[in-house]
């Protein structure tokens, strides 16, 4: 169901604006909205600026910490290491007390908090020094690697060159298309050195040419000038290797690289020490400062007069008391919560919070995946939670597959208990597995017909392999039921939201579609022919009303609804494909010689059928709900309830909201 919401204003003295915002943030139940003056009060009354509540030092401090965070890589510190919580019951309300380094920092006053940031100055200097060293070493390694690549490409030629004292070398690499540049460089170099030079070149790879320019060391600056501006990749030797004979250059480069790698390891070790000592504090400070900045931004939507501040928002009805308690605990009687009451024109602005029991709650993300239902309408979650597992079970319908799914879910849950995706899928998967086992008994299937062959398993209802027609009728009947329910709920939703035109259109559509089915039933003589005549008359009148209410799209909607019903035939089609593939597995295993090979073949085909079956059944089941069912009644365009929650109450911190959050 959708939670009943209250529109509230929190009114506080200006002097307490910061503490009030902090208390609201800590409570984590208010969905903040921009302040609007109540009726009877002019907009100018609450249009004062709240500049004094915004502290620009937070932005600078956050920037400082974020940079330090980036240098040390402390963002990987898990929030669960920073925050823990214990429950406490006060005046009948369940309250969660946050503890740990994050909670301690969160409670600090501005000067103390900023002082903690300032104390990290030496750490920042040390991190900057290490970062600079790491960049330098990385650059050196890249330079040595480039020269080694060049050297490896030219080594057959270089090995034949005599080494001459006082001569230096410069390597260049260029695209093979520009190799003619080398001729111009050689001419210039000969002119510059009076012919005391050598240029050795060779192809490196498919599309690059490398060259080493050998020249008297005293011409090094001129050579650099010669190469500058020619769009060449210059590969210069490290200072200590200039003048080293070519035959010694390979081993010396390797030695140099080893030393650089060792230095890099030492730098990384120093980073690790810094991270271990200060990582938690830095990450906690970053999160707390982010909260302070969020509070300052939230104040931009507040209304302020000379003496008062008003913060507006939405709170689930059952949590208004909790908010009052939290504000009273932190600020006494100086701050009041005013319930504005829900005006009719405000209903469309109200955020939507889904509140379902533990089993249905798991289906909430699926139900609101495409769109959030509008406030005041029907929550589709319970309907999805009841029907989707049944659809999956009906399509797969095999005791063996259900048991395998259950075992897999238990194993995954045991191995990764805290992974959010696992926690989300777990209840849905378990219910679907149980439904699959149930339908497996009804259809008498255990890994296809293996149950029948080994244990004489017989269907409790019917055999899908033989009763194909009955299965199709069952699927269509489910379609009639669900689409019909959707049309009825559409009428109810239009009534709840007081949309008269839509109410008339949906009621007319319901009558039209019902009339078609009654007429068909009469045509096939399931009911008396007179009923068919009455239905057609009612349908014709409803069709006129539908055109008046919806326009020419009305009759198309009737045809669309009939198509939606037929679409449920996929329940039978997917199910039939699944059972046939199961049979194929058994037959194929019988064709292979040897028991072990037969079991292997059957296992592979069953595994394929298992994966395809559950994947396809899930997708098709969800699709039937979104396209065929929800389109008949879910009112799209709802605003999700997004309370202003601090890092203390954020689920990612391992601590849920005071009463479990939404």
């Amino acid at each position: 169901m959708l939670a009943r919401m209250q529109r509230i204003d929190v009114v506080a003295p200006r002097t307490l604006v910061g503490r009030t915002m902090r208390a609201i943030h800590r409570a984590g139940v208010v969905h903040l909205v921009p302040f609007e003056s109540p009726r009877g009060i002019g907009p100018a009354t609450f249009s004062e600026s709240l500049d004094e509540a915004r502290d620009p030092r937070y932005d600078a401090a956050y920037q400082f910490i974020a940079e330090l965070d980036g240098q040390l890589g402390t963002a990987g510190v898990r929030q669960v290491e920073l925050l823990s919580g214990r429950r406490s019951r006060e005046r009948g309300l369940d309250r969660l007390i946050a503890t740990g380094p994050l909670a301690e920092l969160w409670e600090l006053d501005t000067p103390v908090l900023l002082d903690r940031v300032d104390h990290l100055g030496p750490i920042r200097a040390e991190a900057a020094r290490l970062t600079e060293a790491r960049v330098r070493v990385h650059g050196e390694i890249a330079r040595v690697d480039s020269y080694r690549t060049l050297f490896a490409g030219l080594s057959p030629v270089l090995a034949r060159l005599p080494s001459v004292r006082g001569y230096g070398s410069t390597g260049v690499v260029m695209d093979a298309r520009y190799r003619s540049v080398l001729g111009a460089i050689r001419t210039e170099l000969e002119r510059m050195t009076g012919g005391r030079c050598e240029v050795v070149s060779s192809d490196i790879g498919l599309d690059r040419v490398g060259a080493v320019l050998i020249y008297p060391v005293r011409h090094a600056a001129e050579v650099r000038g010669l190469l500058g501006g020619r769009d060449l990749e210059e590969v210069s030797l490290p200072e200590e290797l200039v003048g080293v004979p070519f035959e010694q250059l390979g081993p010396r480069l390797a030695e140099r690289r080893d030393r650089l790698v060792a230095e890099l390891h030492r730098i990384n070790a120093e980073f690790a020490v810094l991270r271990a000592r200060h990582g938690k504090e830095i990450e906690a400070l970053r999160l707390v400062l982010a909260d302070r900045i969020a509070e300052a931004r939230a104040l931009e939507s507040a209304g302020a007069s000379d003496h008062l501040v008003v913060l507006s928002g939405w709170v689930p009805d059952r949590r208004v008391g909790e908010l009052r308690e939290a504000l009273a605990r932190d600020l006494g009687t100086a701050v009041v919560v005013i319930e504005r009451g829900l005006m009719r024109e405000e209903r469309s602005d109200a955020p939507v919070a889904l509140e379902n029991g533990p089993l249905f709650r798991a289906f909430e993300p699926l139900a609101s995946f495409v769109t959030v239902p509008r406030y005041g309408s029907i929550d589709p979650t319970p309907l999805l939670a009841l029907a989707l597992p049944a659809f999956i079970g009906m399509m797969v319908g095999d005791i063996g597959y259900g048991l395998v799914l259950l075992a897999l879910l238990v194993a995954v849950r045991w191995r990764w208990p805290a992974v959010p995706l696992v926690r989300t899928i777990w209840p849905i998967g378990v219910v679907a597995a149980i439904a699959t086992i149930g339908f497996g008994f009804l259809f008498g299937e255990l890994f296809g017909d293996v149950g029948d062959r080994l244990f004489g398993l017989q269907p409790l209802w019917f055999d899908r392999r033989e009763a194909i027609g009955e299965l199709l009728v069952l699927a269509i009947a489910i379609g009639i039921g669900q689409v019909g329910l959707g049309l009825v709920l559409g009428v109810v939703n239009a009534a709840l939201l007081r949309h008269r035109r839509e109410l008339a259109g949906r009621a007319a559509l319901l009558v039209c579609v019902s009339a078609v089915f009654v007429a068909l039933a009469a045509l096939f003589r399931f009911i008396p022919a007179e009923a068919g005549v009455v239905a057609l008359t009612a349908g014709a009148i409803a069709l006129v009303l539908l055109v008046l209410a919806v326009g020419v799209a009305g009759p198309i909607e009737v045809v669309g609804a009939l198509g939606n019903v037929l679409s449920y035939a996929r329940l039978m089609a997917i199910g039939l494909a699944s059972v046939m593939l199961g049979l194929v597995a058994t037959r194929l295993s019988g064709l292979v010689e040897g028991a072990l090979a037969g079991v292997l073949v059957a296992g592979v085909v069953h595994a394929l059928n298992f994966a395809l079956g559950f994947f396809d059944a899930s997708v098709q089941g969800i699709r039937l709900h979104y396209v065929e069912f929800f389109s008949k009644f879910v009112e799209p365009g709802g605003v999700p309830y997004a309370p202003f929650v601090s890092v203390l109450g954020h689920p990612a911190g391992g601590v849920a909201g005071p009463t479990g959050g939404t």
């Binding site: 995946f369 495409v370 194909i468 199709l472 198509g563 679409s567 035939a569 089609a573 979104y626 396209v627």
Partner: protein, 70 residues
Amino acid sequence: MDEGLRFLAAALAVGLGAIGTGVAQARIGSAGAGAVAEKPEVMGSIFILTALPETMVILGFVIAAIILFQ
């Protein structure tokens, strides 16, 4: 001969529906993948749009079933 024509009709009903669905889903899927890459929040709508053409092959399947089991 009549029996053969019935099977052919059933196969055409499903096969042509499947081809139509495949062509439509290919186009919607490729456009949808691009849209989701730029705007992940449209994932739900793209899912619906991609699933819509499946009705064609399902309707073809229903017709085939009626042809075969009448």
